[in-house]
Assembly symmetry: C2
Homo-oligomer: 221 residues x 2
DNA sequence: GATATTCTGTTGCGGATGCAACAAAAACTA
DNA sequence: TAGTTTTTGTTGCATCCGCAACAGAATATC
């Protein structure tokens, strides 16, 4: 667990021993979730920051027509709910589900922000890391806005695949979503997405098999 | 100017005298812009946080097909570019234009983050405010993702008008955008937006005149 | 105040996509 | 393994919306 925490941005530049003593002071709550289990749901009162210790969770929102949107995927060592807690929002406007069997550590945000006697020396570094977390989340959401503002399903999908390509630098992409989830992420209809994917395969832009994609158009230029 | 700064979240809980001494230490750069003038443009090297002293600027992005998206509007006393600077992004992936005649103060982010001899006592409070700025921006972008994930122009527009209604608690809404800008904000085609707006007026949902809207559906329930 | 420019609404057209229904494939369960 | 459930791809239909073109209104420029 400490190895995972050490990888998280929140504990960047901390040694495992440091993390241990900070946690001793913060008295985090650790909770385990089965696949598809609710971590929290819209309108819950959330006052703690979540850190994924193992597994993977997903932030999403369902509107009154039943349309579901995946806002972001939170992987191991990543943190979530920090912006709402940090901004003092009580009733959280999104839901969170475990995508697979997961463990989550919850930290009281106030204990990060305000000095306590023993964690005092780590305090400043923790806050600097918190700034980094938040600003990275802003960047993530910026790219999300960028994707969602594309007009066609094809453009959205290419934008998404491209972002993974840039991250991994590989033509072979394995996405962490089912078709329905991918549709929810791109904010499009599932069957229309399937249709577009197979059309793109017909045109020789991509090859695919379930959640595995190969980018062919990347070879062209 | 100091009155404006005092209103900004970054200088929350500061007295004007405090702000003056902080600024003396930070040596900000103040620049003036005419309407539609470029504040910065995509791929510029940006290392300073912007605060709008007067007027209004707009963060947007144009893709390779020439489609323009308005990411956010930055009003007087609000700050911008902070997330990119804070996250250490050098080449900024968005552009910024003055929406009207404006003045912008640019602050070196490092001088906020790292203590200097004279501003030392204000340092902690500044960073706490910075956290608030960033978390509020995350919330803003979250609602933006929520809006853009709506399927139809009508839903997007209603989502937008509703958010303003909640903010102002008034049926009478005056939006800060031209039609083209509203279309860019909702990520839809301008003429299709105009069509939908007049259709909604035909159906008695709204009344409008240019950028003035009256919500009629709000009276129904 | 005259002219030029920009903004807005309107409309026809065609294509993209949401939706529903269904069948095949895959994954899960007992 | 057999049966059940979930996931995925396919297709027809209807409609929404992007696009282009244009005209009138509003605004800016001189």
């Amino acid at each position: 667990m400490y190895e995972t925490l050490k990888k998280s941005i929140l504990f960047k530049n901390f040694e495992i021993e440091d993390i241990k003593s900070i946690l001793k002071c913060m008295q985090p709550r650790i909770e385990k979730f089965e696949k598809n289990e609710i971590v929290f749901i819209e309108d819950d009162f959330v006052s703690e920051i979540g850190i994924v210790i193992s597994g993977r969770v997903c932030i999403q929102k369902t509107d009154k027509d039943g349309n579901n949107v995946i806002i972001s995927e939170i992987n191991c060592a990543e943190i979530f709910a920090e912006a709402f807690v940090c901004a003092g929002v009580k009733k959280i406007p999104v839901s969170c589900f475990a995508q697979e069997k997961s463990a989550v550590m919850f930290l009281d945000y106030k204990k990060i922000l305000y000095r306590c006697s023993s964690a005092c020396s780590f305090h400043t570094a923790l806050i600097a890391n918190m700034l980094e977390c938040l600003s990275k989340k802003v960047l993530l959401l910026n790219s999300r806005v960028n994707l969602l503002s594309k007009l066609s399903i094809r453009e959205k999908l290419l934008e998404y695949l491209n972002s993974i390509y840039i991250e991994t630098n590989s033509y072979y992409i394995n996405i962490p979503y089912t078709r329905q989830q991918l549709a929810d992420f791109l904010a499009v209809n599932r069957s229309a997405l399937s249709r577009e994917i197979s059309k793109m395969a017909d045109e020789g832009l991509i090859e695919y098999n379930g959640s595995e994609f190969k980018l062919l158009y990347k070879n062209l230029n």
